[in-house]
């Protein structure tokens, strides 16, 4: 099946990602850990753009950019250099933003996503480094703003802006691209997508192969699908009424789910880019081999290995590798010798489903020990899900000691309660253990199903066969069943 793209939709994305795993900002030693800090407490003369200061580039930011470039299968430039992009806006204290222009660090690359009709290649045009501006808070809405409050804590944070080709053919593909992109960056350990403002997206979208409109200010990867659906509908309506789409920039209002035309500037944008004289050019291609060595197994490779190594389905492998912390969690569980297929089901289907239902997202992990989830709407709700607990739960289930309904109840109980109880404690408290007689009944049913010859012999009059069947039940229950009960149950089954 080939996707026809009936509306001639083309979507290209510009994604700004904060390299928030770095300890310091791009050009100064200010701490990047400002997310819960009071305004203007993480600044210095360099990121405040005071005169006479000299920026010096964070080496780790360049390494991170190369990592991202390699993961996107992009070309790393022989020589790369910063420019000044000049414009006046209060989020930029200097009157210009330090960015890259015609010598970006990463050139053409690609990302393969699951498209409308199977694997779909989205071209990467380029990726470059730049500094984040400060944060503006409008008093009132952006349209009827009465004034603006500025916090420069974010000013000078290292960003990577990635520009794609207009290769996505639906809002769904755009979202899938972003999911994949975010996942890759988290694998690379350069980015924590859970932090506020970590990823910001602008989208170019056109219908009927026509004029593109830029939609700015999409702050979440979930927002992109809504913003694009709205914008495509709007453009189609304009065309249906005989109107024309004009090249313009629109602002996405996340709360209302609509795009708003920004007042068109009387003068065309003119950034007067010029080379940043305070920063020396870079020749860093000799770093590539060493950085390539440090690249982790990326999502696609991990997914293929999971299928191969654990014998799990593609669906499960995809879900488990959709977040590096979840993939590590699964591997830690399997390392303790539980059945990987059963473990995959309980993690990928049940646990993930229950997390989603509660708006819980995986925010951190202690590798080999636990994942830490928090509620997206109320970050004070935090839940630890321990590897050992999943192992215990899966083992109980696999040994038939608890029903699947009981196992789900245990997971729900862990997620709903602040008290950190082990599955065993919950099972005991709630009496979820299958009754002894249930276990024997199960063993009896199995024995009868597995020993048809003996059953036929008995029904044909061979009394001895009954003893054999009882023996099998005793074996299955590891001798815990009462022989007399077992005998009665077998007779009941055979007669019933």
């Amino acid at each position: 099946m080939v996707y026809e793209n009936p509306d001639g939709i083309r979507i290209g994305l510009e994604i700004h990602v904060q390299l928030n795993k770095l300890k310091t900002k791009m050009f100064c030693g200010c701490s990047s850990d400002y997310h819960n800090a009071a305004p203007n407490t993480h600044t210095c003369p360099i990121c405040l753009g005071l005169p006479g200061t000299l920026p010096v580039l964070n080496k780790k930011a360049v390494e991170a950019a190369i990592k991202v470039g390699l993961a996107l299968e992009g070309e790393i430039a022989e020589e790369t250099q910063f420019h000044r992009k000049n414009y006046f806006y209060p989020d930029l204290p200097k009157g210009f933003q330090v960015t890259q222009y015609d010598f970006p660090i990463v050139g053409k690359g690609k990302v393969v996503i699951e498209g409308e009709d199977g694997e779909h290649v989205v071209g990467i045009t380029r990726a470059h480094m730049e500094e984040d501006p400060g944060k503006l808070v409008h008093i009132g809405s952006i349209e009827k703003s009465k004034g603006v409050l500025i916090d420069y804590n974010r000013s000078g944070m290292p960003l990577i802006e990635t520009v794609t080709e207009p290769d996505m053919r639906s809002p769904k593909e755009a979202r899938r691209f972003l999911d994949k992109f975010r996942n890759i960056l988290e694998y690379l350990d350069v980015f924590d997508g859970n932090l506020e403002g970590a990823m910001r997206v602008d989208a170019n979208v056109s219908v009927h192969w026509g004029t593109r409109v830029e939609v700015k200010n999409i702050s979440s990867h979930k927002g992109v699908e809504r913003a694009l659906l709205y914008e495509i509908m709007r453009q189609k309506n304009v065309i249906r009424r005989g109107g024309k789409i004009t090249l313009e920039t629109r602002h996405f209002d996340e709360g209302r789910g609509v795009t708003i035309s920004m007042r068109t500037k009387e003068e065309a944008e003119d950034y007067r880019y010029f080379r940043e004289p305070d920063l020396m050019p870079m020749r860093v291609t000799d770093w590539i081999p060493a950085i390539r060595e440090t690249l982790p197994e990326l999502p696609d490779a991990k997914r293929a290995r999971f299928i191969e190594q654990y014998g799990i389905t593609d669906m499960h492998a995809k879900a488990l590798t959709s977040k590096i912390m979840l993939a590590d969690f699964h591997e830690s569980i399997c390392a303790q010798g539980v059945d990987p297929k059963i473990a995959a089901t309980w993690t990928a289907d049940v646990l993930l489903g229950e997390l989603n239902y509660r708006d819980l997202v995986i925010g951190a992990d202690v590798q080999g020990y636990a994942i830490i989830c928090y509620n997206q709407k109320n970050p004070d709700i935090v839940r630890h899900i321990r590897v050992n607990d999943m192992v215990e739960l899966v083992t109980f289930f696999a040994e038939g000691k608890i029903s699947d309904r009981a196992a789900v109840e245990v997971i729900r109980s862990i997620l709903d309660s602040k008290e950190e109880k082990t599955p065993l404690q919950i099972i005991e408290e709630r009496g979820l253990l299958k009754a002894e007689s249930d276990l024997v009944t199960m063993a009896v049913e199995e024995t009868i199903a597995e020993n048809e010859a003996a059953v036929q012999d008995y029904l044909g009059g061979a009394e001895k066969s009954l003893n054999f069947l009882v023996g099998q039940v005793m074996k299955k229950t590891k001798g815990t069943a009462d022989a007399k009960t077992a005998r009665e149950l077998i007779l009941k089954e055979l007669k019933g």
Partner: protein, 93 residues
């Protein structure tokens, strides 16, 4: 050739108010600078790699080590327009 409109545009981009008289003056001065650069066009430079930096220095980096920041009071010391630790400025656009 730089026109009066070009000078006005450049002034707007730099947020500098330029009077009618200054516009003419700057137009003439800028044109004379451009003319001077025009002389360079007479030289054969096809095979010359453009010089962007006069210093032959590459790869100047710092390590990712946290240094002390300025206290909030110091950051806001030079403005009278502040609110809850932020700079307050007029609405934009």
């Amino acid at each position: 050739m730089i026109t009066k409109e070009d000078v006005e545009h450049i002034g707007w981009l730099a947020r500098i108010e330029i009077s009618e008289q200054e516009t003419v003056e700057y137009m003439e001065k800028l044109n004379s600078v451009l003319e001077y650069f025009g002389q360079l066009d007479e030289l054969p430079t096809e095979d010359v790699v453009p010089t962007y930096h006069v210093a032959e220095i590459y790869n100047v980096f710092r390590e990712d080590i946290v240094e002390e920041c300025l206290p909030q009071e110091t950051v806001l010391a030079n403005t009278e327009y502040k609110q809850d630790g932020t700079f307050r400025v007029p609405k934009i656009g």
